[in-house]
């Protein structure tokens, strides 16, 4: 049997072991894990890429990296507990061990967007895969034009990275909305901000529609309506990028699960131009 380093070189499916350093609770069902490699360092990632995370003995899921791409030591993942594997991952405590392999997939086009306005549109947990791109935009603020972050969540208690967003506001435009200011049966802090779906923020955002690049992530229906709202403002699908979620058992184009028409979301995505993938997303149950 091979030790871990050779095993990694041998099969693309074997993870590296990592330690959980910190667990931050974001919402009732969502945490951000800060992890670092047990021995060999994790390869650097680009904003928008994902890793395959293993809850050892439970299974493996694709999770976009949500931390700063310039942080070469610690990797962050913002995970909502929805299935067996994500429940196991979100139950990890500092010192816990999990497997990581990656990074995989196509990143956000932060280089191609240089010199122009950038519109970041996030829905719910969709802010997590966009956060590394926001870190990158802020770190290279002078290379971009106007930057707008438009964020929508279901309710005020579902807002992610609220403190951080306050800080972002000093460098970029930030607009936040919630679908509903309260939820039945839930004690929610009072909300005096905007109410409505995230697409309602788009007409008020300031950007040059003929040059702006849009980075969009959220539920598929939200991305579809966002692309339409951006098109109404004059941003064509060629400059609208979405990050897709599909079942993935391998992350490396071998298991077949994540197909969407001609695309393997794992290797052709997860970030794809809406102009390219939009027609396929429009077909139900594809």
């Amino acid at each position: 049997m091979l030790p871990v380093s050779e095993a990694v070189a041998a099969t693309p499916l074997a993870p590296r072991l990592t330690h959980v350093d910190r667990v931050e609770r974001e919402t009732a069902d969502t945490v951000t894990l800060h992890v670092s490699a047990v021995d060999t360092e994790l390869p650097p990632f680009a904003p928008g890429q994902f890793d395959m995370l293993s809850a050892l003995g439970v299974g493996e899921v694709p999770i976009s990296v949500s931390g700063d791409p310039d942080d070469r030591v610690t990797r962050q993942y913002t995970i909502r507990a929805v299935g067996a594997v994500t429940r196991a991952l979100t139950s990890l405590r500092p010192g816990g061990v999990m497997g990581v392999r990656g990074p995989y997939g196509h990143p956000w086009p932060v280089e191609a967007a240089v010199g122009a306005d950038v519109v970041v549109v996030a829905g719910g947990l969709g802010l997590a895969p966009l956060r590394p791109a926001i870190h990158h935009l802020l770190a290279h603020r002078d290379r971009y034009g106007r930057i707008s972050i438009l964020y929508g969540a279901r309710s005020p208690d579902e807002l992610l990275f609220a403190d951080e967003m306050q800080r972002w506001q000093s460098d970029v435009d930030v607009a936040v909305t919630v679908d509903a200011p309260s939820a039945p049966g839930k004690a929610i802090p009072p909300w005096d901000g905007r109410v409505g779906v995230v697409t309602t923020l788009i007409p008020d955002a300031l950007f040059d529609p003929h040059r702006a690049t849009a980075l969009v992530c959220g539920p598929e229906v939200m991305m579809r309506f966002t692309a339409r709202a951006l098109a109404d403002q004059g941003v064509t699908g060629e400059r609208v990028y979405v990050s897709l979620e599909r079942s993935m058992a391998c992350g490396v184009g071998l298991c077949g699960h994540c197909q969407l028409g001609p695309f393997f979301v794992c290797v052709d995505g997860p970030v794809l131009r809406h102009g390219l993938v939009g027609p396929w997303l429009a077909v139900r149950e594809l």
């Binding site: 499916l13 493996e60 599909r246 071998l254 699960h257 001609p262 393997f264």
Partner: protein, 394 residues
């Protein structure tokens, strides 16, 4: 990679430029030669009422005098009038079960003395197989899977390691089944590339013998170990005639003109509802298909939590779980799952891997419990505008 190293030998219509002949008896010597070289010989044999692939110990294991009768949803063995060893089309097995086993361990992990975990690669040794009796459509299927597993951005090491060791002895097809359509897919019935040796079985007045074409140096060395002679013109002509006649006797055909666009333009065709009303979503077609490659993984642990195995198994896009994402399946209906399978096989595969995913072997038709026929489904989509009367059907 012995067989992959073989360059394109030319188009299917052209007869072999040079060939040799071995007597039927010499096939045993050929198998012995494979054994001496350390190969595990796998080939056709009769088991459980079908011609399947299994380890061969001698030519006595071959399905001598047997053939297969196939039609949608039906497979039966039948006696031949002659004693041919390879007088059938293809059975339920394909070679993929030896190149990517139906279940295997991707990796395992064990607890270390200090309480941590250590990850271990798949410890199983790489088997060295010689496949004997590979059909032309199956060579094409192996080439398709090579593009999936080896030529992509990440190589599947389980497949690649096994594929690297394989030696391929093709046997040309003289008796296509009622569900065969390799001639439509351009993948047969004559093997032209991708083999180490290609045999054509002849049973005529001149005796039971094989015309042999050499594809690689490994094939050459193997042939040189057994008694052979140069083929005469009439041997070659007889061999070519076998596959020429087979090409004329395909049980099915599929018009593949512009098929990618045809399917892309018809993602909402009513035929998908029609086929969904018949399809059981059982996944037989994907298991029998020699190119279907999808897998899933499951973690298995011992009771003490000292050891974990990530087990990988063939999966099927017909299962409801296949697309389970964030709480719900993407493809919740049989309609969407059949559409995915057929559209992938015949259309999106071209965008993804540069060729069709279908080689025309007919297994999905034969082994479908309700006899759904992919050639008929394509014809229906091609031939009909949305029309309840069916008058426009071809």
């Amino acid at each position: 990679m012995t067989a992959q190293a073989a360059s394109a030998a030319g188009d299917a219509a052209r007869p072999p430029e040079s060939a040799e002949v071995i007597k039927a008896d010499a096939l045993e010597d050929l198998l012995d030669g494979l054994g001496r070289r350390g190969y595990t010989v796998v080939g056709p044999t009769v088991a459980d009422g079908a011609i399947v692939y299994d380890e061969l110990t001698s030519v006595a294991d071959l399905p001598r005098g047997w053939t297969d009768e196939q039609s949608p949803g039906r497979y039966r063995l039948a006696r031949r009038e002659d004693e041919a060893w390879f007088g059938y089309a293809v059975g339920p097995h394909s070679w993929k079960r030896y190149l990517l086993p139906p279940t295997h361990t991707a990796w395992s992990a064990e607890r270390t003395a200090d309480g941590g975990m250590r990850i271990l690669d798949d410890p199983s040794p790489v088997p060295r197989y010689a496949f004997v009796g590979v059909r032309s459509c199956e060579l094409a299927a192996i080439a398709v899977q090579d593009r999936v597993f080896i030529r992509g951005p990440f190589a599947d090491t389980v497949y690649a390691r096994r594929r690297d060791e394989v030696l391929l002895v093709a046997v040309n097809c003289g008796d296509p089944a009622g569900t065969c359509f390799c001639a439509s897919m351009g993948t047969g019935p004559r093997a032209t590339t991708g083999f180490d040796l290609a045999l054509t079985e002849l049973l005529d007045d001149e005796g039971h013998r094989f015309v042999v074409e050499v594809g690689t140096a490994a094939g050459r060395a193997l042939l040189d170990d057994v008694t052979h002679r140069a083929a005469e013109q009439r041997d070659v002509a007889a061999a070519v005639d076998i596959t020429d006649r087979a090409a004329q006797r395909m049980g099915r055909q599929m018009d593949v003109t512009g098929i990618r666009e045809l399917l892309y333009d018809n993602l909402e065709h009513p035929r998908w509802d029609d086929v969904a009303s018949r399809c059981l979503a059982c996944g037989n077609c994907t298991l029998a298909c020699p190119t279907c490659f999808c897998t899933s993984v499951t973690d298995v642990t011992d009771l003490a939590g000292e050891r974990i195995e990530r087990q990988r198994a063939w999966d099927s896009c017909f299962t409801l779980d296949f697309t389970y994402t964030a709480g719900a399946p993407v493809r919740g209906t049989t309609r969407s799952r059949y559409r995915q399978w057929m559209t992938h096989k015949l259309a999106t595969w071209i965008d993804q891997f540069g060729s069709s995913g279908c080689v025309g072997c007919g297994r999905c038709i034969t082994w479908c419990p309700v006899g759904i026929d992919i050639t008929e489904e394509v014809a229906a989509i091609r031939g009909t505008e949305p029309d309840e009367s069916g008058e426009n059907e071809t």
